[in-house]
Every structure is written in C-alpha cells, then in structure tokens.
Amino acid sequence: MSSDDEKPADDSGAAGHTPGRDDEPTGQPTPASRAGDPDAKPTGGTPKAQDGKGGTPKARDGKAGDPRRTRTAIVIDALTTANTATVTVLAVVLALVVGALVIALSDQQVLDSMQYFFSRPGDTFSAAWQAVSTAYAALFTGSIVDPETLNYAWWGMASWTQVLTPISETLTYAAPLIGTGLAVGLAFRAGMFNIGAQGQAMMGAIGAGLVGFVLPWPPVIGVIAAVLGGLLGGSIWGLIAGWLKAKFGAHEVITTIMLNYIAAPSFVTWLVVQHGIQQPGRNDPISKPVVDNAQLPHLFGSGLRANLAIILVVAAAIGVSWLLRRSTLGFEFRAVGSNPNASRTAGINIDRTYLLVMIFAGALAGLGGAAIVLGNTPNSITPSVVGNIGFDGITVALLGRGKPVGTVLAGLLFGALQAGASQMQVTSQIPLEVSTIIQSLIVIFVAAPALVKAVFRLRAQRVGTIGQNLAKGWNG
C-alpha cells in the first residue's frame, strides 16, 4: 500500500525529496490512494465517493503526510493521477462529449450542411456548435438553475418557485433512481447481480397503488401504509428470485429479467383492467388514483414537484449503509459477496443470505416504484408508470460502485441528467433516450478505468472499479 503512494509522488517531482524521507513519516495512506482502493475490501471504512469529493481534505491530509510539498502540487498530483474520483469525473466528461457527437450528428441542420462540407466546412461546425450548445444549455437549465429566471427573480419579476423548479425536478427524478440503485447496489455487495429492479419497482408501484386507493385513508397513516405496500410488493418479487437462486441455483441474471417481463407488461396490464381496479370511465389500462392522504406530501409547496420520496430514499441509503457496515447481517452479506465458499465454511447460511438480500433489494426497488406512484401525477398504476427506472438503477448502482453514498450521488447526477433531458426534448426536440445513452457511456467508461487513463494520459494508479465481486461467471 505504502509503495503505491510513493510512485505518483516521485513522478510529480514536486519537491526534491529523498525517498528515505518519504518512507519515514507516512505509513498511513494518502487519501488519493485510499480513494483508489478496490471495492473488494469488505472492511473498507469510508465510502469512496465521499473521499473523492473535492480537493481540500485531500490537500490537508497530504500536507500533514509530507510537509515539504506545496498545496498546489498535491492538488495537481491528485487530479492527474487516475484515482477513483478523477476517473469518475473524466468518465462523465467523456460521455458528455460522445453525447454531444450523437446530438450533433443527428441534427438536421448539421446533416444538411454536411452535404457541402468540403466547400464550406465552417457551416457544419457552427451548426454543430449551435445544436450542441442549445441542447446542453437546456440540460443545465432544466436540471440545476436557469440564470435568466434567477435574474428575473432577483429583480422581483419571477417567483422563486420558478427558480427552484429545475432543482425540484432533479430531486423528483432522482428519488426513484436512488431506490432502484440501492436495490442493485445492495445485491452487488452480496455478490448478486440484480437486474430485476425493473420488475421489483413495478410490483412496488402496484403494491403502493393498490394500498393507496383501496381505503379512504386518514392522513399520515395513509402514506405509511401505501409506502409499506410498495416495500411489500417489491420484496415479494425479490424473494422469488432469491428463492430460485438459493434452492435451485438458478442464475439471478436470467430469473430476474424474466420476472421483469412477467411483472410488466404481462401482469400489470391484466391487473389494471380488472373491475374495481380500473379507473371508472376509462377504457385504457389505468388504475384508480391513490387517495390524497396516501400521496407523498410535497416538500416545498404545491408548486414544486419535489416530494417526501427523496427524503425516504436518502433515509433508506443511510439504513443500507448502517446495515452493511454495522450489523451482523450486513457483514454476512459482504462476506458472501467476497467469497461464498469461505463464508459457508465459516458457518454462514448462504442460501438464507441470498434470500434475505433479494428481499431487501426488492423492497428498495419497491420503494423506488412507490415513489413514482405516490409522488407524481396521475398517481395511478399504468403499465409504463415506472418507466425505465430499473435499468437506470443498474447504471446508478454501477456508477456509485455499490456504496450507499455513491448511489445517492450517482442517483442525483442521473436524476439531473433526466430532468435536463426532458427540458432538452422541449427546447431542441432531442429524444429522451439521450440520457440513457450518456448514462450507459458513463458507466462503461467508469468500468474501464484503463480506457479513461489511456484517453487522458493519466498516470497509473489502482482504481476502484465495479463488479470485482462479481467476476465469477456462471459457475460462481
């Protein structure tokens, strides 16, 4: 570990230090290398995503380790070394660049001006710039803040609600993604690849929706009951996959994806047209709406969509974090994830572990589904109500490297991306799938740190990557 630290320090040649000097004071790793530790270490203390944030704590720690290096040198060093944070940021940059290419090459004006590219190449580039800058400006104003509205609001010509709308949208999109991201990430830690978050979220939406309109609920209790319904619905679907894995050794990648298709479109399409469930007066597959008292309350007044869901999923993330780091059960999960055979020898019942992991994972995905049905209009179950949150959750969990904190941050990022994408659709008629493309590219680049390192010519260091617990194939 300590020899890893020296390498970048030597390469940077920041200050003329002797190797002997370097060896003597540290012994404890610099944060840059701690951030680079692989996931496989089950005892890993602080989650990486947190570590990697910002250069300040890094600089301070590094300075304590080696007083002779200047602060700037250390920051530059940390930034140009391929640690987890740098690779993640550069992966996002790279994905946005490819996304820009996709947007530019699919723009009609760009395509038109390409017809005469060799006589007037400038036209193509300006059209491409026009297309990409408009689109990415919309991405920003749709997810973070619109400077123009901010300016108006400052002078009292727009309401602050309008200013906060983009952030509220980001939180609304992020909440379900964090739920399904946690579902995939938790299973990752136990060595399972849960690609069934989609179906589990659907069943969660069904559970929450059914509970939500079946009774004229009183306030507060209604919300609690409906959310519990969502957790139950998702966990049942997770339970099936866990049971199939534990008892029959059926690989979860196949069973969970099949359960996805059984849940939606098959099951839900049947369910929502049943008498007593279908919305009266409608012929299309849509259920009755959830009663008002079972809906998640809005956080910042009725003008903004952000609702309690984001608080619930963050609480769930804290719960998962506690579970994994502090509880016996969580220890067993991680142990089974690291090495099932050793765990079995040590007396852990791994069948029970698989079952429990999938129940928990299903409940988390169910929370994601419930967040949509209970939080967003029209508050009804429809076959497409959960959209694509299960598959997006996979990318969230992969970017968050299976850690709860990382998942929350990744969920916020992808939530922002989706909120921005819907603004992009409005202003530039760019299909929503652009966010799917960018998301998957980010994950591909994050999963291949060597590729990012090669593109940006970063110095080598060990980088925490994803799926190391999973590299077992079918026989594992």
Partner: protein
C-alpha cells in the same frame, strides 16, 4: 405450473437440504411431477366440458388429416401419465432416466392442458410447428452467438443488445437501400459492432463481463431508441419500411407432408440459422479452430503455452458471435414484419442466454432450448388468438415462465467452460 403443490414442494426441498440421502434430485422432481399430474387430472379434467372433442390436425387449418380426442377423458388421462411418471421417479425406479422421464412428464402435462384448452376447437400441429421454428430463429442465432463467445471464455450477456441493434440496422438500411439483402448485411454488422465493443472492453480493458453485457444492452436500447425517435418515426416511409424476405420454398422437399411445410418453406434467415447450427457444431468439434476455441475457454494458460494466441481467438469468436446475433435481430424485422419498434427484442436475448445454459453450451443443446421457448411463445400466441379462457396477459408470460422453470428446475447442475468470464492476463 405447480400450483397447490408449491408449499409442499418447498417443504420437501427444505428437508432435503438437511437429509440429502433420500431426497435425490430425481425424487424431488418426481414429487413435483406427481403433484402437477394430480393438478392436471383434477383441475384440467374438471374444467373441460364433458362432451367436447379436442381436434389436433396435421395441417395449418382445421380440416385435413387429424386426430379427434374426447377432451375430458384425455385431459385426465395425460394427467394420470404425468402422475405415474412422477410416482415412478419418487419410488426411485426411474433414476437412471431423468431426462427422458422429465420429457414425458412435461409433455403429458402440456397435452393435458391442451386438451382442456382446445376442447371444442382445434390445434393445427403443423401450423404450431411452423410458428415455433419461426419464433425460435432469433433465439437460435442469439444463443449461437453466446456459444461462440462463451466456449472461448467470454460471457456474452449483450445478446439482447445485439439482437436489438441487428433488428434496427436491418430495418434502417434495408429501407434506405430498398433491399432486404443489404439490410441483412447491415444487421450482421450492427450486431458485430456491439460484439466488437464487448470484445475490446472485456478482453483489452478487463471489464467485468456480466456487468458490461448488461450495460451494453442499456446502451443499445438508448441508441436505437434515440435514432428511432429522431429519424425513423417522423419519417417512417423512408427509414422504416424495409422490404422483407419472403418464404423460400425448396422444391420437392417442401412437398413432403408434415415435415415439408415446417422445415422447407421458410425465410432465408431460418435456413441460415439451421445451417449455422450444423456448421458451428462441426467446427467446434472437428476443426482446429474449434479445438483452439475450447482450449482457450477451458484453460487459457495451457493454450497460451502451446502457442495459441488466446486474446486473438477470443476477439474473433466474440465478433463472429456478434455478427450472428445481428442476423438473429434481422429475423425480427426484415425476416418478419419489417418495421422496427422500440425495445422490440423484449427479452429474447436473455431467453437465448437461458437456452444456451439449458443446452449446456453446445450448439445443438442451444437449438433444443431455443425450440422449447419458441414453442411456448407459439402456443401463447395461438391460444390468445383462440380467445382462451385464460387472460391473454397470463398467456404472454408463458415463454418467460418456461425460461425460469428451465433454468431453475430442469437444468440441474450445469458446468460452464472453466475460464468463462475470466479475462486472460498474461503473467
């Protein structure tokens, strides 16, 4: 399928974990078949109207040669067959013949179900067989792609993405060039492109292969969905109306009764799929390439020592696999309805993966698995068109449930190629 027996089953299984001696796999399966048979005999038997007949015809229509069975009697009788096989296995008499007994029990159960469903109607066996093969084609080609990659040690979960990309490219380029053949080539290249990305990232950059496959599926979904919304849908006359491959009748052979219309009256892609199964089987077992592929998949270090270029073999196999899966995608558009639709592969890539595991990583086994799932799909669409009493939404679950049952129960202990999923790093 199991219905009321499920609780009993899980108890039995839980017990068997503790006492492995008596509850062998064969006995457990026997118990399941026994209960399923009782369920079939009682429920399907009682649900069947007493005086109706179930007509199985050897054609695509209701007339022609066929067999008329008194529906209720046979619904019960097939259930009893299932019970007997189950009892035999439970008693330990059939433990040497697990595969055959399972086949008989499952077939009897399905026939009992069919007697109930088509009482008063007819089931065109030839039509069903045609439909089965037709629906199995993308699965056959997809699982062949898996065979090629996985026998050389690269897990291919991206079959779904390859099918989708193939379907998209087939429709797009087929429309632009107004030629199904161009579409076919483009489809293969589209699948090959995903295969190439998979190969580079898995072999060169050592990305976890299952994760990579799933993410590539999401990527393919995103790209095809994006381009569909951007170009195809607004201008579907120019970009989404490809010419389709017609049925190619093979002279003489197509006139053989029963077999002829099923096997020798198909689109070019279907023939290609069957021929490829034969080629890959022979190539894997009889050629130098096949030996190398298997060596690399089982023990790359040993293969490397003997001078085989491990990475090269893997690159080649994964990319060829991608090309084949791309053709499978073409079967969904230019080999069938023509038009592309968002996410139209609908999990077929994963069913192909299941067929591959079901077939124990052999091309012929994968073919059998693909036909099984194709049959479930064909049956589903026929029963739906017949206005079965079972809601059509439940019937659409059939292929997916069949897949789960196959992976969970029928396959048993499988062994993938030893180096499957493990990147090879020369030390």
């Amino acid at each position: 399928m199991v219905g009321p027996g499920q609780a009993v089953l899980s108890d039995a299984v839980a017990e068997s974990v503790a006492v492995h001696g008596y509850w062998t796999r064969s006995r457990k399966a026997g118990l399941v078949y026994l209960l399923a048979g009782v369920f079939a005999a009682v429920v399907f038997g009682l649900a069947t109207p007493a005086h109706e007949t179930a007509r199985f015809t050897l054609s695509v229509r209701s007339n022609g040669a066929g067999i008329d069975l008194p529906a209720r009697v046979f619904a019960v009788a097939f259930g009893v067959v299932c019970v007997l096989v189950g009892a035999g296995m439970l008693g330990g008499y059939l433990k040497r013949r697990f595969g055959a007994s399972t086949a008989v029990a499952v077939t009897a159960f399905v026939l009992s179900f069919l007697c109930w469903q088509i009482a008063g109607h007819f089931l065109p066996l030839v039509g069903l067989a045609q439909q089965t093969l037709y629906l199995a084609v993308p699965l056959i080609l997809g699982s062949l792609a898996g065979v090629l990659g996985e026998r050389s040690g690269v897990i291919n979960v991206a079959i779904e993405g390859q099918l989708l990309t193939g379907a998209f490219c087939g429709a797009l380029f087929g429309s632009i060039f107004a030629s199904a053949w161009v579409g076919l080539v483009a489809a293969a290249l589209g699948g090959g492109l995903i295969g190439a990305i998979l190969a580079v990232l898995a072999i060169r950059y050592l990305v976890d292969q299952v994760v990579l496959g799933v993410v590539l599926n999401v990527f393919a979904m995103g790209v095809t969905g994006y381009l569909y919304d951007r170009f195809m849908q607004p201008n579907s006359a120019a970009y989404n109306t490809p010419p389709i491959f017609g049925q190619l009748k093979i002279p003489l052979l197509a006139d053989i009764p029963v077999i002829g219309p099923v096997l020798f009256q198909n689109t070019i892609i279907t023939y290609l799929a069957i021929v490829l199964v034969v080629i890959v089987t022979l190539a894997l077992n009889k050629t130098r390439w096949g030996l190398r592929t298997r060596a690399v998949g089982e023990h790359p270090t040993a293969a490397d020592t003997l001078g085989i270029r491990v990475r090269l073999v893997r690159y080649r196999n994964v990319i060829i696999g991608g090309l084949i899966a791309g053709v499978g995608g073409a079967a969904l558009t230019i080999g069938s309805v023509g038009q592309f639709g968002k996410d139209m592969s609908a999990g077929r890539g994963f069913i192909a993966l299941a067929a591959l595991i079901f077939g124990r990583w052999s091309p012929t086994g994968a073919l059998a698995g693909a036909l099984l799932f194709g049959f479930a799909d064909a049956l589903q669409s026929y029963l739906t068109s017949m206005n079965s009493v079972i809601p059509s939404q439940f019937l659409t679950m059939l292929p997916y449930i069949a897949t789960i049952l196959a992976v969970a129960g029928l396959v048993g202990k499988v062994r993938a190629p030893s180096a499957d999923g493990k990147p090879y790093v020369k030390s």
